[in-house]
């Protein structure tokens, strides 16, 4: 099971965080700090897996963004690496050539995609098309809601 998923930039700015197990804010901060310190300090071309405390950490760099996931002991590292990749693919499909700014300005969409893709720390839907469909539905719903709200109340 994936314990947490973090996205941060090369400069050490947190862009997105998702926790699948309850943690206190203090612990979260500590995890984030440790993750950034260790991951950013890794030399290029070294292996994408780390051991941190009792967790396995899988990270991958896409342009200036680091995607970083904490796994439990029995999880498959390579597979999680692909989970990250899939997430990036999904973002890419939704935003059309995604970049860091997309995630900064449309963070709610990024979270939403993540929610459709992962649930409770497990992969919910592996099919790219299915996630896309549910995203469109959600968007449509949102639009109708907005329309509904913006209509003057007679």
């Amino acid at each position: 099971m994936i314990r947490f998923l973090l996205l941060f930039s090369k400069q050490g700015r947190l862009r997105l965080q998702k926790w699948f197990t309850p943690l206190t804010d203090r612990e979260k901060k500590k995890v984030i700090r440790d993750m950034m310190a260790t991951v950013l300090a890794r030399p290029a071309r070294s292996c994408n897996f780390l051991q941190w405390r009792d967790l396995k950490v899988v990270y991958k760099r896409y342009a200036s963004l680091y995607f970083c996931a904490g796994l439990e002991d029995q999880d498959n590292e390579l597979l999680s690496l692909e989970v990250l990749h899939r997430y990036v693919e999904l973002l890419d499909k939704y935003f059309g050539n995604v970049c860091e700014l997309d995630i900064i300005f449309n963070f709610e969409k990024a979270y939403f995609i993540l929610d459709e893709f992962l649930m409770g720390g497990e992969v919910l839907e592996t099919s790219r098309a299915a996630v896309g469909v549910s995203l469109e539905e959600a968007d449509a719903l949102q639009e109708t809601m907005e329309e509904y709200m913006s209509r003057p109340a007679y």
Binding site: F20, P43, R45, S46, C47, N48, F49, L50, Q51, W52, R53, N76, E77, L78, L79, L81, E82, H85, R86, D115, M119, G120, E122, V123, L124, E125, T126, S127, R128, A129, A130, S134, A138
Partner: protein, 975 residues
């Protein structure tokens, strides 16, 4: 959307409220909603498995869902459930294999492909489930060979995701029952991984190797060179993994090299967590495989202590000290080792002790205190000065200081150091720290009164048998003396250890114990005595192991002395015993340990850290015996006929100990079941004292012990398996026996209702059956043993359970069953911890008149309802009790429809099926009461609301409402 939130937010208590809604969504027409509902249920299952028990069949439906996404989601639940109970889902193996086959063959819709690999996540999930199912199960494994082969073959593209599948496949292949062909392929895959230039793959390969070497050390040999390359890899993570791998293949020959590598890594390592982990491994390996080279061992430990610093687990130094104090196999070697340790520590202290970590300083001071007298050329004053230097160190904390002071107390015997001592005492007597102050007081008093000191910490050998002595150093001299006289020394160690494992409760700090005695007897002005108990308990927390060891010695001392007296000094007076011991000396010795090992493994001694630790060590030592064939050159002779030794020497031990030891009331009930132990348990039951030994920590001893036991294990597993198969065969005729067995029910049980008589297990000609009898005030488990052979059978049964307390009503559990006769045992059961089903598991061993003993395991499942009895009370009493109970659960149940008064009808069903008592029904509400046997009441309040029955349960016991609710649901469903 709401479902997503449900899975993330909901705490345990709120699940019942939302559960019906989520359940409903399982049948929603949209796939995505079904999928999310399944995952939400998975979350519920993780947080509160009890509450979703009734919908297991819905999971099955989800598994067969036409949408692959829903099926994938349901696999999460299955993975979790199978992890907990692989036996219960063997029947699903076939369907999982079929699913995997379809997936591998690409039958899924295209959009599940990922880089043209069909549904990799699904595949991996399935592989994981299969490996859990196929573990140690030949027939189940047989079903999956074909599909595994297929997946291995298919996954040959060059992409990460295929490698991930391969990795999972390889793990699966090595977990399930082995098949040569597949193993070969898997090994080839691993080879590819390790040799791959891609760093991630290399890492995975190393992981796989680490996993695999446990079964097949040969594989590591093939990749020797790669491993060595990886050791020098620039990436620390790769290096770390390699060390992990090396740790697994350590044996007596390569230990020096590996430890050296590990230490090297330690020096460069920054991360605290890694350091801690690695230090533990170094210590373990070094102790386990320590070659006969004192210098190396001490040096290694020294480096480790100074590198590991204060991060290491506290049991590492403790183990080390234990090792030193108990020694290896010969007294001469021990002495050398200790002398060497003293030497090295003296030189360390003479150097620059300022930057040594606290733990290390503590170890140093202990060793110096205990063994510095072995260095005859060294003046005690010098030691005292060195220790005094420790006290002056700025960074030494009070714990370290008190260790140092204790050491000084032990050393101070000559007049020369008095001046130094006085100064120190004065300084610390006014210390703010109570522990330190007490130590200083002790030191002062003892140093001033030579006579008293001689009594409390005697250094010489002659002493009266009744005196309480707490100095281990004295004992060690005694050991070496006795050894020189040619006696067998090891018995003493066992006895000491034995206490250690069991007497954790009695954590008396030795010196504070001896001091008040000495003081009061000499009528000193004892101004500190009121604070003593608290001080000593605080301290024993700090230096637990040390004090335990010493206290164990104090407690056991008179007995130990007498034993030794007979063997050593009084040898001539009792020649009869002596030869037996000498004869038994070397080979029996190791077998002896084996016996003791297994016993200690089989019982629940009070759950202490030491016991756990010993178990761990035992486990690892077992692994050594099984795993690598190369390492055990040490023990060639002792492994030949272990089984014979076992019985013989056990008898010896008991004959020696019977009558010598004071009866000991704290006997933990023997419990968990290890096949080969029964014969020993038999002995131990007749002689309770012998059943409480603990394994030795000593590395070499472990090695010797490990091998024979593992041999025995393999010897004994085959008969058990046979008996299992026989049980299956005999099942048919068994059914016809039921009726006649019922006639054997004890007289007092005949009136009461009893359950169906079910077969438990059978072995050769002995069959076991059981049923439970509902009595008014208790639940009785009746076990029938029918012996259909022509000979008598001696039986011994052990029953126990996590949830149920079992006590035997009839005579002792060891019995003989005459030929063609049925014997009946009765046990009364009470619930310790409610759960939906309570399982009593047990172990029976049979001793035929001829042939070897057999053992068989069995388990018996009881529904909670059997323990439920109606509770008759008035509405007022109900009201007061309702308010007093704290644990409650609410849920909606279905009402029985189509009758005049649905509430009454429903409650009547419950009353009949679950033995509840309906207190009163007022309009649309009803109150019901029942009790779990032995007065654990549970109250239920029902109200008809919108066509359903809203139930609210309250009880004093935490899990009872949940479980009862489950049974209510079941009862109403069945209706």
């Amino acid at each position: 959307m709401a479902l997503t939130i449900v899975s993330q937010l909901f705490p345990k208590d709120m699940i019942p409220a939302i559960l019906p809604l989520v359940e409903e969504k399982l049948t929603h027409p949209k796939e995505i909603i079904r999928r999310k509902a399944v995952l939400a249920l998975y979350k519920f299952y993780l947080t509160a498995p009890n509450q979703v028990q009734h919908i297991h069949n819905k999971f099955r439906k989800a598994l067969c869902d036409k949408d692959p996404g829903v099926m994938t989601a349901s696999l999460h639940i299955y993975l979790q459930m199978i992890k907990e109970n692989p036996e219960g889902y063997k029947d699903l193996t076939g369907s999982f294999v079929t699913i995997l086959k379809q997936v591998v063959a690409g039958k899924l819709p295209m959009d599940y492909n990922y880089h043209s690999v069909p549904a990799p996540w699904l595949q991996i999930q399935l592989l994981r489930i299969l490996s859990l199912l196929g573990k140690n199960d030949e027939s189940t494994s047989g079903i999956m060979y074909e599909v595994l082969d297929e997946s291995l073959r298919r996954a040959e593209m060059n992409h990460n995701i295929t490698y991930a599948i391969l990795y999972e496949c390889v793990k699966c292949v090595y977990t399930i029952h082995p098949k040569a062909e597949l193993l070969e392929k898997a090994a080839k895959c691993i080879g590819n991984f390790v040799l791959s230039p891609k760093i991630n793959l290399k890492y995975i390969g190393l992981k796989a190797l680490t996993y695999v070497v446990q079964q097949d050390p040969q594989l590591a040999l093939q990749h020797q060179m790669t491993i060595i390359e990886c050791l020098d890899h620039s990436d620390l993570i790769i290096k770390r993994e390699t060390l992990e791998l090396l740790f697994r293949i350590t044996n007596a020959q390569n230990v020096t090299v590996i430890v050296e590598k590990m230490l090297e890594f330690l020096r460069t390592c920054q991360d605290d967590y890694t350091t801690m982990d690695l230090v533990g491994k170094v210590a373990e390996v070094a102790e386990k495989y320590a070659p006969n080279d004192n210098k190396w061992f001490i040096d290694t430990m020294n480096t480790m202590f100074s590198l590991g610093g204060d991060l290491m687990q506290p049991d590492i130094p403790n183990n080390f000290l234990k090792l030193l104090s108990e020694g290896f196999d010969s007294g001469e070697g021990d002495r050398k080792l200790r002398r060497f340790a003293v030497d090295s520590y003296v030189s360390l202290l003479q150097g620059e002790p300022g930057n040594l970590p606290q733990r290390f300083l503590q170890v140093i001071s202990w060793v110096l205190g205990e063994y510095s007298h072995l260095r005859t050329d060294l003046e005690p004053a010098t030691i005292l000065n060195l220790l005094a230097k420790l006290l002056d160190l700025k960074h030494a904390n009070s714990e370290t200081k008190s260790w140092a002071l204790m050491a000084m107390t032990k050393v101070c015997e000559s007049e020369a150091g008095m001046a130094v001592l006085q100064g120190i005492c004065e300084m610390h007597c006014s210390s703010m720290d109570t522990v330190l102050r007490q130590r200083a007081q002790e030191l002062q008093n003892l140093s001033l009164h030579a006579e008293l000191r001689a009594k409390v910490l005697p250094q010489d050998i002659s002493m009266e048998p009744l005196e309480v002595d707490s100095s281990l150093s004295f004992l060690d001299e005694f050991v070496s003396e006795a050894l020189a006289a040619g006696a067998a020394p090891y018995k003493a160690h066992h006895q000491r250890q034995e206490e250690l494992a069991q007497e954790k409760v009695l954590s008396l700090e030795p010196y504070s114990l001896s001091l008040p005695i000495g003081m009061s007897s000499c009528s000193f002005p004892d101004r500190q005595s009121p604070t003593l108990p608290s001080v000593s308990s605080g301290l024993s927390g700090d230096s637990t192991d040390f004090s335990h060891k010493a206290s164990a010695t104090t407690l056991k001392l008179d007995k130990v002395k007498r034993v030794w007296g007979r063997e050593g000094y009084l040898a001539k007076k009792e020649p009869a015993e002596e030869p037996a011991l000498i004869e038994a000396h070397s080979p029996v010795h190791s077998a002896d340990q084996v016996g003791e090992f297994s016993i200690s493994q089989s019982q629940t001694s009070p759950p202490t850290v030491a016991a756990k630790q010993e178990k761990q060590q035992l486990a690892s030592s077992l692994f050594v015996g099984l795993g690598s064939q190369t390492s055990e050159s040490l023990m060639g002779k002792s492994e030949l006929t272990p089984q014979m030794f076992r019985r013989k020497d056990k008898g010896q031990v008991s004959s020696l100990e019977v009558g010598k030891q004071t009866p000991n009331s704290v006997i933990p009930p023997p419990n968990s079941v290890d096949n080969l132990l029964c014969s020993i348990l038999l002995d131990s039951n007749t002689d309770p004292e012998t059943s409480l030994p603990a394994p030795k920590q000593n590395g070499i001893a472990l090695l010797e012990g490990g091998q024979p036991e593992s041999d025995m294990k393999t010897l004994e597993t085959s008969p058990t398996r046979d008996s299992g198969r026989m049980a299956a065969e005999t099942e048919e005729p068994v059914r016809t026996k039921d009726i006649c067995l019922a006639s054997y029910l004890p007289a007092d049980c005949i009136g009461a209702t009893h359950s169906e008589i079910t077969p438990l297990c059978s072995s050769q000609s002995v069959d076991l059956f059981a049923c439970h009898v509902h009595k008014e005030d208790c639940l009785v488990l009746v076990v029938f043993i029918s012996n259909s052979s022509a000979t008598r059978v001696r039986l011994l049964a052990q029953l126990d359970s996590e949830e149920v307390e079992v006590s035997c009503i009839c005579e002792s559990p060891v019995e003989e069953v005459r030929s063609h006769y049925v014997e009946v045992w009765q046990y009364s059961l009470t619930v310790k911890r409610p759960s939906v089903h309570l399982v009593v598991s047990g172990l029976v061993s049979f001793h035929m008149a001829t042939g070897t003993p057999h053992t068989a395991k069995f388990s018996y499942k009881l529904p909670l309802i059997s323990f439920i009895r109606p509770l008759t009370l008035s509405t007022e009493e109900y009201g007061t009790m309702w308010l007093a109970f704290s644990h409650d659960t609410k849920q909606n149940l279905t009402l029985i429809t189509g009758v005049q008064d649905p509430l009454r009808a429903t409650l009547n069903v419950l009353e009949r099926k679950l033995h509840l008592h309906v207190v009163e029904i007022i309009g649309m509400e009803g109150i019901v009461a029942c009790q779990l046997l032995q007065d654990q009441p549970c109250l239920m309040h029902c109200r008809v609301h919108a066509g359903t029955l809203a139930v609210w349960l309250r009880s004093t016991v935490p899990d009872l409402p949940d479980c009862l609710l489950y049974h209510c649901q079941r009862a109403l469903q069945e209706h």
